[in-house]
């Protein structure tokens, strides 16, 4: 949500007679710079607060991938696209090791079939039931932390032994409290836009952490193999 504070300066004239766009363009550019600074400051404070959990969750995700696990990412609306970007970062990275990751909103046949037949609240949990094993990882992207379909899926995933990770905003909502969520990364902001921008960077750091852990394991595997460096 865009805050309404400090935007009064953007509306010096609301008359329909306004003709000179120069002043508006200057105000828009200043506003854009302010918001970019705000976004970066939030990213910095979020990463500082979450650094420990990012490393710990990355380590556990590496365990799961090393054991043959798969990652399921899901969210609603803009967050579903952030979940898709996150899944693609794992499955088709520009560097590092490709890892099996799926976006559960990607298949329109499945999403509409489940939404129509069993209700939208179950669109992700039914897919978790159908596809997952206890080695897998469930990652939900939310800004409110209160979406019923995401919470239902995370609880189902937890019951089945999956590693469960949530991304939330504001003060974490129900996702921040749920005992079924192993790691919940909360971006403490009231703006949906700024929350999503920080979640993207958190997701990237989680991916990087997972890759570092897998690289260490690969290196130690190499060291113990006959003819290795150790």
């Amino acid at each position: 949500m865009v805050s309404s504070e400090n935007t009064g300066f953007l509306y010096p004239f609301i008359e329909a007679e306004e003709r000179d766009s120069g002043s508006l363009l200057g105000d828009l550019a200043a506003s854009a710079r302010d918001k970019a600074h705000e976004s970066s400051a939030l990213q910095l404070s979020t990463l500082a607060a979450c650094a420990h959990d990012v490393l710990a969750a990355g380590d556990q995700m590496a365990d799961r991938f090393a054991a043959g696990g798969r990652l399921y990412a899901f969210g609603n609306g803009g967050s579903s696209t952030d979940a898709a970007t996150f899944a693609a970062l794992f499955a088709q990275p520009v560097s590092g090791r490709p890892l099996p990751a799926l976006n559960l909103a990607a298949d329109q046949a499945v999403v509409t079939a489940l939404g129509n037949d069993v209700g939208f609240e179950l669109v992700f949990s039914r897919q978790i039931i159908a596809h997952s094993s206890s080695k897998d990882i469930a990652v939900a992207f939310s800004t409110s932390g209160n979406s019923a379909d995401l919470l239902t899926a995370l609880r189902e995933a937890s019951r089945r032994g999956l590693l469960t990770i949530g991304f939330a905003g504001y003060t974490g909502g129900e996702m921040g409290e749920a005992k079924e969520v192993d790691y919940c990364f909360v971006v403490r902001s009231q703006s949906i836009h700024r929350i999503q921008e920080s979640q993207a960077l958190l997701g990237y750091q989680l991916w990087a952490s997972t890759q570092r852990d897998l690289a260490r394991r690969t290196a130690s595997l190499q060291a113990t193999r006959p003819g290795g460096t150790a």
Binding site: D82, T85, A200, Y204
Partner: protein, 262 residues
């Protein structure tokens, strides 16, 4: 030399620990990018005001196309106007855009400067009468590649996954809605065209895309331009094929516009 297992799977070795400042760029807009965003937002608001649909494209990163579309069509702030925005994700994105885009629309892409589909699409946008906006990072597209180029000077190939593009289209959405608070500025002013010869307002060198090649060697070709469909003389540039781009003046195709631009 021991066999390096890492070389099989790891193209680069990640840093050993978390760098909590990686990917954070507070000064990302401190150059000209903030002004570029402002100009693009006003142009987008004007097009929406006149009835445009926004077509969102990101061939390599489809989620960004979907995120842009949902941003405009289902705003996060209750009470903000839902604006017509749609993602185009067909593998043949140029053909899908050609049939979808109407004169007056907006085409917005998130793509690297060397994306051949987006280069082709942006080159055709003037013939379709579309405002073109191109968001990306790293090496910049050629000058004039789109009406508005919103570029992040960062060559890190992971930039698409760190939230920077998300920030860019979030800001575009936020600023576009600020423009709606200024109804007097939503119609282009005569003073906005300051060029000595304004290509937007004159018949000078308009871009056209061939719809129907001539039935015989001396016949006219039906083309699509920003102003609609028209028959033109193509004897100077014959033969032409469907979808060829030509530059026309006074009802005559003067030259072809090839893959290399003008």
């Amino acid at each position: 030399m021991p066999w390096d297992l890492r070389s099989v799977t790891m193209q680069t070795s990640p840093a050993p620990e978390l760098d909590a400042t990686a990917g954070i760029t507070p000064d990302i807009l401190d150059g000209g990018l903030a002004d570029d965003l402002a100009a693009a937002s006003l142009a987008i608001a004007r097009r929406f005001h006149a009835g445009a649909t926004m077509w969102c494209i990101a061939p390599k990163w489809e989620p960004h196309a979907h995120h842009m579309a949902v941003e405009f069509v289902h705003p996060v702030i209750v009470g903000k106007r839902a604006l017509p925005a749609l993602a185009l994700t067909d593998p043949d994105i140029v053909a899908q855009a050609r049939v979808s885009v109407r004169a007056g629309d907006i085409v917005i892409a998130v793509a690297s400067a060397d994306d051949p589909k987006v280069l082709d699409l942006m080159r055709r946008a003037p013939a379709w009468g579309a405002l073109s906006v191109w968001i990306g990072s790293g090496a910049r597209p050629p000058n004039g590649a789109a009406d508005h180029v919103l570029w992040i000077d960062d060559a890190n190939p992971l930039a698409p996954a760190t939230g920077r593009f998300v920030l860019m289209y979030h800001l575009l959405w936020e600023l576009t809605h600020v423009c709606f608070e200024h109804p007097g500025l939503l119609v282009e002013q005569p003073g906005d065209c300051t060029d000595e010869v304004c290509v937007t307002c004159s018949d000078e060198g308009r871009l056209a895309e061939v719809l129907l090649p001539p039935a015989d060697s001396l016949g006219p070709a039906l083309v699509r331009t920003a102003g609609g469909e028209e028959y033109i003389d193509v004897t100077l540039v014959a033969p032409v094929e469907r979808d060829d781009l030509v530059l026309i003046h006074a009802g005559t195709a003067l030259t072809r516009v090839g893959d290399q631009g003008w």
